[in-house]
């Protein structure tokens, strides 16, 4: 029996500047239920555009993206996104920023208060509920953005180059969300350019080529969970996986 596919990208193409700049072309990708997929690619290869298309924030020129059997035309309530630029509103406190998506989704006030408390604590920002983003460090702001997405209790979480080397804590949070009283998203898609991160977080790594992006190769990460960047680096399979990703990213031609 085939494993259920939650998010499918079918022959997707996207161009900018009136067709002169092709960011990706004829891209196929399927993310299964309960799976974490890391999309790894050189910078400027259209990873972010692909993720935005997955959430219906930009349209495709060709092909389509299907989530849970229906074509994505606009953002869906069971999908949440963490932005590379954090996207926090400077005029809203941590609480109000985390509550933002829930308010728009029409969740009852009592439920919003409970979830905000739970997820703010989960990302380690208890005590900062009334702080404003400009008083927080970059890593803390990032975790506010993560709490805002997790509080939606989405089925699918889309994260855009969320960590870099910024915040090791964020990684850990994602791996323990389910255990710590939160509801972890079943399916996750990460966009990153860090190979170590991809190996630590992904069940599979999809390596993209430079623009126009195509899938170079899909690599299954056969290192047992739970993993952290620290434990992954020590695993005997790590060096081989890393070198393979590294070579794929370097090669100019397929």
């Amino acid at each position: 029996m085939a494993v259920a596919e939650r998010l499918v990208v079918e022959r997707a193409s996207k161009t900018f500047s009136g067709g002169e700049l092709t960011v990706f072309a004829d891209l196929d990708l399927a993310v299964r239920d309960q799976e974490s997929v890391c999309v790894l690619g050189p910078s400027g290869c259209g990873k972010t555009t692909l993720l935005r298309a997955m959430h219906g924030l930009v349209g495709l020129d060709e092909g389509r993206i299907v989530v849970d059997g229906s074509v994505v035309l606009r953002p869906r309530s069971n999908v949440a996104m963490v932005f590379q630029h954090f996207g926090l509103m400077p005029w809203k406190s941590v609480t109000a920023n985390v509550a933002y998506g829930l308010e728009l989704a029409g969740v009852a006030r009592q439920e919003i208060a409970e979830r905000v408390t739970r997820y703010v604590e989960l990302v380690g920002l208890k005590g900062f509920e009334r702080s404003y983003p400009h008083t927080l460090s970059g890593g803390m702001q990032q975790r506010v953005g993560l709490a805002r997405a997790l509080a939606m209790e989405p089925d699918i979480l889309l994260m855009d180059e969320p960590f870099g080397s910024l915040d090791a804590q964020t990684r850990e949070i994602l791996q323990i969300t389910g255990v710590r009283g939160g509801r972890a998203p079943a399916t996750m898609v990460f966009i990153t350019h860090s190979i170590e991160e991809a190996i630590a977080l992904g069940d599979r790594i999809v390596v993209l080529s430079a623009r126009p992006a195509r899938i170079r190769e899909t690599i299954s990460v056969d290192i047992p969970r739970p993993r952290t960047v620290a434990s992954v680096v020590a695993h005997p399979r790590f060096v081989e996986l890393r070198d393979r990703c590294w070579r794929l990213l370097r090669e100019r031609t397929a």
């Binding site: 509103m89 005029w91 728009l104 380690g124 005590g127 900062f128 404003y132 949070i173």
Partner: protein, 277 residues
């Protein structure tokens, strides 16, 4: 680092932030010392130098201070100030109302922008003073209306243009976030567009206050001689320079107090824009 450790680290960070606030407060006190010291120094030099010159041209601060008492005692200052404040506040309220409405509309709708931009550019590039006689004629020199209209004309442009820029310059990243969480048009305005335009608007108001005061005095010179402007002209004509300075100082104080008030409001409603200096 475990989450527990991180939470403790976060607690320490809250302490560090409080310490930074205390440091900033101490710095503020130092800043104020220098500001007040500088004013006192100028006043002292003035007091010392003034008696060496013709009293028709310059009078020492102590004489001006005495003149202050005289003008309050005979009621002239209160009456003039009341008159001027009526014009100033009436004009500023009109400028705020029209400026904010037109600023938002032109920032949001291309049609409104194209419709008003040539007019705004034209009126803003003409020195507003040149239009005062026209306003006086248009309002037939009657009552406070021409002066209120002059204040409004002087004050409206920075408010309108800044509000427009604020609405147009909304962070695209935040618009995307709003879209990603399926915002409604109404919530887009209340959550994103208006809050991000507020600091621009308040900066415009600060500029507008200075211009409104100019409009107020100029219109009092040119249309009907009343208020603080009248006091300046009348005491200049009789060479009572000490008394002439009284309304000048009152206008300066109005400017300082009102701009300080707006700056304080900026700090309260938009603390993220406050720059460390």
């Amino acid at each position: 680092m475990t989450v527990g450790e991180a939470q403790r680290a976060a607690g320490t960070r809250a302490g560090a932030l409080a310490a930074a606030r205390r440091r900033r407060l101490r710095l503020d006190l130092g800043d104020w010392g220098v500001r007040i010291g500088s004013v006192l120094f100028v006043l002292a030099v003035w007091e010392f130098v003034a008696p060496r010159f013709n009293p028709l041209i310059i009078r020492p601060p102590t004489h001006i201070f005495r003149a202050f008492g005289e003008l309050i005692a005979n009621g002239e200052l209160q009456e003039a100030l009341g008159q001027s404040l009526r014009e100033f506040s009436g004009g500023l309220v009109i400028a705020l109302t029209l400026g904010i409405l037109l600023g938002i509309a032109s920032g949001r709708y291309r049609f409104v922008y194209n419709a008003i931009d040539p007019l705004v550019s034209a009126l803003y590039s003409v020195p507003s003073v040149a239009l005062v006689p026209l306003i006086a004629v248009a309002f037939k020199f009657q009552g406070d209306a021409p002066r209120i209209a002059t204040v409004a004309l002087f004050a409206i442009f920075p408010i309108l243009i800044n509000t427009q820029q604020g609405v147009r310059n909304v962070d695209r990243g935040l618009l995307e976030v709003a879209k990603a969480f399926n915002t409604s048009e109404r919530r887009l305005w209340t959550d994103v567009i208006i809050p991000s335009a507020v600091p621009f608007l308040l900066a415009g108001v600060r500029l507008a206050i200075g211009r409104a005061l100019i409009g107020m005095i100029v219109s009092e010179f040119l249309v009907g001689l009343v208020g603080l402007g009248y006091l300046i002209i009348v005491y200049e004509n009789v060479f009572r320079i000490d008394r002439m300075f009284v309304p000048v100082i009152v206008v300066a104080t109005m400017g300082i107090v009102l701009m300080g008030l707006v700056q304080w409001i900026e700090g309260r409603v938009a603390p993220w824009t406050r720059r460390e200096q």
